[in-house]
Symmetry: C2
């Protein structure tokens, strides 16, 4: 089977206390694609400008990603983002955003992209997400990401889009902002009432939590000696998670499968932040992923023995 | 065996968006004692004023807590704290602190308190913590909590105190502030170089993470429909954790035992925040604790099956 992702393909300029790059490959669809490529065939859909060259295509193709639906706009400039992180890497400042070809992006999916079994709508304007979702009417599982900008400027459209997907991935603060509910339990219930079966809260360095059907699951982030660049961690998490689901079409997409998918998402996100941009995930090995998921299980496991408590 | 705790015994005035009280029993030693009382005999050490009455003693005694080392200072006023929480309960403002009898507190432990097998030094001035630690020279396991105030005003003393204990419990931000290390992995290594075998980072609504010896463990917080009052959650966490360790003198105090202790700490903290002050924990049942720990295991468990990944 295969996965289609629609989102940004970008050049990022990133400064963190631990390193910086003036121009490197980035964007939600790119981070997602590389992470998901360890599990299944990925079709990446998004616009680029003339400045997007063979070297950038090659990063994706080297991981087997289908780049046929990358739309190259003559005379256009690729989406550009410049950001800076503080010593506390949760503290991020956007210094510059140049939409470039992204400003007039109208997603056009090829038959191969439309035929994908699983669809990920990365963080783009919710009307566009809905158009893509309609082009992939036959997808077995559809997930979306969003951001505070759309919650603030296009809330009704976002909720309409959410109603048409199976899974919502947002960070903690976005879930609170979207629902007006202070607790994740209530926020997830609200979102699930709009339609999706699965709601996942991304919690950055703390991990991620999920409601699927009537069950809850939480997984801490993998503990790292040093985090260099958090950019794209959420998209790599989604890539590992959605890629894993796409690669298991024969298994029922139930809570148990989703918990395993969460572990792969967590593992992929943890590699991503170890180096700048896509550098770490682009040269990741299968063995490293397998070992990290096994380690994730060890560090979250405890035994529940009978205990004599005092009434 | 038994546990001794030294810390504040207080009246709290708390306002949260979900309820408020003008005067209720609180303080780190009280929250700790009630939580630990489900596991072992607890000796509570701390000063109170004339305003501390039978009703307050009774809350502790009803849970079997030994109150003989509560020092009642004639003419004194019990420590008082007034705080307010925002809609985001991580956003806490201290409105008033009246030290009262706490200002001149000199911990004097009775033979019973000195003989305790396990000692918890709740958040008080680090010189005092060290004095208490010296009075309990024979304790098998000693843990401490602290806060930003002492990191800022008594850092050297705090580090000296830390050198004499087995386990440090601090919240995330305090661990970063204390060590100057941005990552928990590095912060824990730094603290362990000072002496303690075990370092635990309290992460509030996200749970807690632990380094013990060379191993890592992390546990998410229990998901709650509504959190009413986070005051004392960290002390209840410590009470469940340390109480559990005290109640298992026959088992080796290794990483595996500590992971189980973390589960009980997490459970006790989750009950504490469901209602104002000590109200929920004071009427907690053994069955509720057992059920919550079992549920904690269910919501963190995932199966690790072999997966075909793409190189």
């Amino acid at each position: 089977m295969s996965v289609t992702v629609v989102g940004s393909i970008a050049f990022d300029a990133v400064t963190t206390p631990f390193g910086s790059r003036e121009r490197m490959l980035g964007g939600s669809a790119v981070h997602f694609s590389l992470a998901a490529s360890f599990f299944d065939t990925v079709h990446v859909v998004g616009p680029v400008g003339d400045d997007f060259g063979e070297a950038e295509y090659e990063v994706l193709r080297a991981r087997g990603v289908d780049t046929d639906d990358i739309e190259r706009v003559p005379g256009g400039q690729t989406f550009f983002w410049r950001g800076e992180y503080g010593w506390d890497l949760n503290d991020r400042t956007t210094l510059e955003t140049r939409l470039g070809v992204f400003a007039d992006f109208e997603p056009k999916l090829s038959p191969a992209s439309r035929a994908a079994d699983v669809l990920f709508l990365a963080n783009i304007q919710p009307d566009l997400q809905r158009e893509v979702r309609e082009q992939c009417a036959g997808a077995r599982f559809v997930a979306l990401d969003s951001m505070n900008l759309w919650i603030e400027t296009a809330r009704e459209s976002l909720i309409e889009t959410i109603a048409g997907v199976d899974c919502v991935l947002l960070n903690d603060a976005e879930l609170r902002q979207l629902t007006g509910e202070p607790s994740f339990v209530r926020a997830a219930r609200q979102v699930r009432e709009w339609g999706p079966r699965v709601v996942i809260a991304k919690q950055g360095e703390y991990g991620a939590a999920m409601f699927s059907d009537e069950r809850f699951f939480a997984l801490p982030a993998f503990p790292l000696e040093s985090v260099v660049d958090p950019t794209g961690a959420g998209d790599c998490f989604a890539g590992g998670l959605i890629g894993f689901l796409a690669a298991h079409p024969e298994e029922e997409l139930d809570h148990e499968l989703l918990t395993r998918a969460m572990a792969y998402g967590t593992a992929l996100a943890s590699f991503n932040v170890e180096e700048l941009g896509v550098e770490r995930v682009a040269r990741l090995t299968v063995e490293e992923i397998v070992e990290r998921v096994a380690e994730l299980q060890r560090i979250t496991h405890f035994v529940c023995k009978p205990v004599a408590l005092r009434a």
